[in-house]
Each structure stands twice: as C-alpha cells, then as structure tokens.
Assembly symmetry: C2
Homo-oligomer: 241 residues x 2
DNA sequence: TCTAAACTTTGATGCGCATCAATGAAGTCC
DNA sequence: GGACTTCATTGATGCGCATCAAAGTTTAGA
C-alpha cells in the first residue's frame, strides 16, 4: 500500500478501515467524511436513535452498553481509536454506543456510507474483516466474563487498556514502567465491563497496588510497575501464592 | 426472491446464506458445494487444522469451544441448521469448531469459497450480515454469562434451544407442550456453555421439573410444560417467590 | 439379561464475591 | 479557599454457586 492510499484525515494506525482499501475507494470515502467532536456521555447510536451515522474513532473511547428492562446493564464492548462504530444492515440495536471519554470521530452519514459499501466491494470486505475481529474479541471476552476470577478480570482489563494504548500509538512499547496510562472508565464503568461490583474492582486495584504491580494517581491514571506479574495474574491458575 | 434462486441442495430456512443471494452467485455456489456427513465429536476446524473448509449446517449442532492452556474451556457459541461455520480471512483461530451432534453439512473448500467471495460482492454482503448477527448474539450471550443467575441461565438455555428448533423447522410453533425436544448437549457441555458446574445445571433442571415447568425423558430430551413461566425465569428479577 | 462404564442426580460444606454500611479522597461551585 | 458533591476505598456480613462426596440412572456390550 502506497502512502497516498492512506486517509490523511483520519489516519490513526495501519489497521484502520480507511487504510486497508485502495485509493479510489479511499478517495470516495474521504469525500463524504466529516470530523466531529463529541463530549463524554453523549449517545452515538442506540435505542431510539433514528438518524444513523457510522464513524471511525480518531481519539477517545466508545462503550457499547447493553441495558435491560429491569435496570441491570453491562458494557458489551469498548471501541478504541481506529475502530469502526455503527451497526450496518439493522434498523435497531439492543446496544447503545456512548462516548466514554471526549471523542474525535471521522463520521459518515448512514445513507451515503451504505451506498459506498455497495459501490466498493473492497470497502465491504475491509468492514467484514473488522467485524470478524470484533467477533473474535467478543468471544474472547466471554471467557473472561464466565470463567475468570475477580483478580484475573481486573488484571486482564488493565493490560488490555495498556495494549490498546500501545496499538493506537498513544504509548510507546515497553514504556509502561515510566508512563502514566489514562483510564478511560470510572470504577463503576469498569465494574460493568467486567461484571463485578465496583467495590470488588476497587479491592483488586488495592491488592495490585499493595503487591507493587501497579501504581495509581488520582482516579483516572495508573502506571504498570511489573508488566510480567500483571500478565501472570491476567491468566492465573499460574499464580499460587 | 424467486423460487429458483434458492439453493435446493441445502435449503434449510429462508435466512440461510445461499437463499439470500441472487441466482448467478447461487449457481456458482451450488457448483462447488458438496454434502458431507460428520459424526458427533469430530473437529471441523481449529487449533492445528491446516486445510480450511467452510460449511453451512443442514442438520445438527456445532459447538465453538474456547480451550485454554490451563485446561479450562468454555463453549463460545452454538451453530444451528442454516448457520455458517468457518472463519474467513484468518490463518488460525483460538476456537475449535466441533460436531456436538451428528451433522449434515453443505461444505465448500476454503480456496474456492474465498475466490467466490471475491467474485460475488452480494455473497460477501450476505456473509457480512450473517456475521453481524453472530456478533449481536455473542454480545447478548455476554450478558447471560456476566449477569444472570444459574436459574436464569438454565431457563434461557432451554428456551433458546426451543426457539432454534422452531426456527430450523424441526418443531412447530406452540407445539412445545406436546413435543419432546432433543437436547443437543450433555450436562457437562451445557455447563461449559453457561459457565456453571454440571451439578448446578442438574440442580436447576430438577428445580424446573419440581415446579412443573419442564419434563425430561432420558438424558437427551425435554418437554416445555409452561412456556410463559420458563420465559419469566429466563429474565427473572420478575419472579419473586 | 446381566455387567460395567459413563453420565446424572442429590447431599454436605466452604469460599468468593455481592451486599450493606461507613469513611475517605478528589473534583466543583460559589 | 472552603463547603458541597461525586466518586473511591475499606470493613463486616451473608448468599449463591463451586467443590467434594456418594448414590442413582441410563446406555452399551458381553
């Protein structure tokens, strides 16, 4: 892929949707895109949303929330920079996509994007590949929800955040010992993501701190002191003490 | 869609992949398909499988198993008649697809099917739509794994089996009171699907029986006596007694 | 039909996390 | 900059499901 194939406007990382397609499709895509800033808490799509839009995240984090009639709710997925947000080919969705942090988006109006999908098979293929990755991730997360202990869940969550930061270029590989990493979610949101109560999440944070594996600063930042230990706790059974 | 557009060979239900595409693509697809019988327990793809194949299930159930180094494993999805089985665009998968029951498949060799995907955009679109449904289902199942009680999990599982039987035409709507429904999984497999222990699954079966909501016959058949109650227990909080 | 193996059910006990409750720290507004 | 509000931490207790253990049932094979 040559440099001019890349979408300069929303270039985030190489795997981004608009960087995996040819120049003609990319050109068409660039013509209909517009930049958008979205404040934390804003609903992007869901429930009673009529006007459909699709986006690629430039910066920030989107949470996909599964809300139930009885008030229980769960975060069914997090989308990071470079990820595609939207649900093509469906009038409604049981999920609500909400800005977990302030966002910058590359946004496409629903109708136009769908036409473009029909026009460029390669764009549709790129989308299919991306959705398949989301499906892999969802099935992997199912294992966490069903089979991991609270300790494993919180450790997995923190290393996942670290890995996403590295992937999106916001953090250098191996720099975790030095750099503070921003937490995109509150304790309550983390608990909804891991299917724990927030008290349990807090206790696991405390334990990881007391073991010297992580440090925290304020409510929204953490530093990984011992990455190897964090990874070990993420898939424990290995740890006996 | 006209009748001749339908793939007569593997026509299972209207949503099946080969029934949502045009006649030319369907013709090409029919030309490369071959029927295949697979005995229970056989691995369809996964782990160290080299030769890729894709299939549409004609009859039987496939389980997608997530196996971990430490021996824990979980069923990450079930595929029923009409469903697509395979993981395009990936050399490997962490999942193993295994015949939960004896199967009849419409099978496509990997290379040829991928060429066909590239040739017919409409086939790729149909696949994308199907994968999106799988993603919706996976995210819905995440809620079960993370947030439902053992009672809700088992009730949900049984009504899901019922619904799938109806969808695939093996059971008439509203006939649940009369007909025995075959269970495609053992207690152990059900427990791996719901992230419970098999003893807990068994206890929930017993409780549903003692309440007169279901009956069982042998290990692999059940009858739904009171569908409304079963549905209520599937999303409890509603039930207080 | 009898026997053995595999699977399922039922019972007793304990642990992990939820729940209830209170204190403490961090941002926000005047 | 002090008071308020929101969010996070820590503690005490209880319940749901895992775990350990044993008996019962179904299926297959001699």
């Amino acid at each position: 892929m040559t440099e001019r194939n890349k979408c300069q406007q929303c270039a985030v990382r190489s795997q981004s949707l608009c960087n995996t397609i040819g120049s003609e499709a990319a050109g068409d895509l660039a013509r209909i895109v517009h930049r958008l800033r979205v404040p934390e808490g804003r609903i992007i799509y869901g429930d009673h949303e009529r006007s459909k839009t699709y986006s690629i995240i430039v910066s920030g984090v989107v949470k996909l929330v599964n809300t139930r009639p009885d008030g229980r709710h769960q975060i069914a997925g997090l989308q990071f920079p470079g990820d595609f947000v939207g649900r093509p080919y469906a009038a409604t969705s049981n999920l609500t996509a909400e800005a977990a942090t302030d966002l910058e988006l590359c946004s496409f109006s629903g109708r136009v994007f769908e036409d473009l999908l029909a026009k460029h098979a390669e764009l549709e293929r790129a989308l299919l590949q991306r959705i398949l990755l989301d499906l892999d991730a969802a099935r992997e997360w199912m294992f966490l929800l069903g089979s991991k202990s609270a300790e494993e869940k919180v450790s997995t969550f923190l290393s996942m955040i670290h890995d996403k930061m590295v992937l999106s270029g916001s953090l250098e590989v191996g720099a975790q010992g030095q750099s503070m990493i921003p937490l995109p979610l509150s304790r309550t949101e983390i608990s909804e993501c891991l299917s724990l109560r927030l008290e349990t999440v807090s206790r696991q944070f405390s334990q990881l701190k007391s073991r010297g594996i992580i440090e925290t600063s304020g409510r929204r930042q953490f530093r990984i002191i011992d990455m190897a230990a964090l990874r070990a706790y993420s898939d424990a059974q290995s740890v006996s003490a």
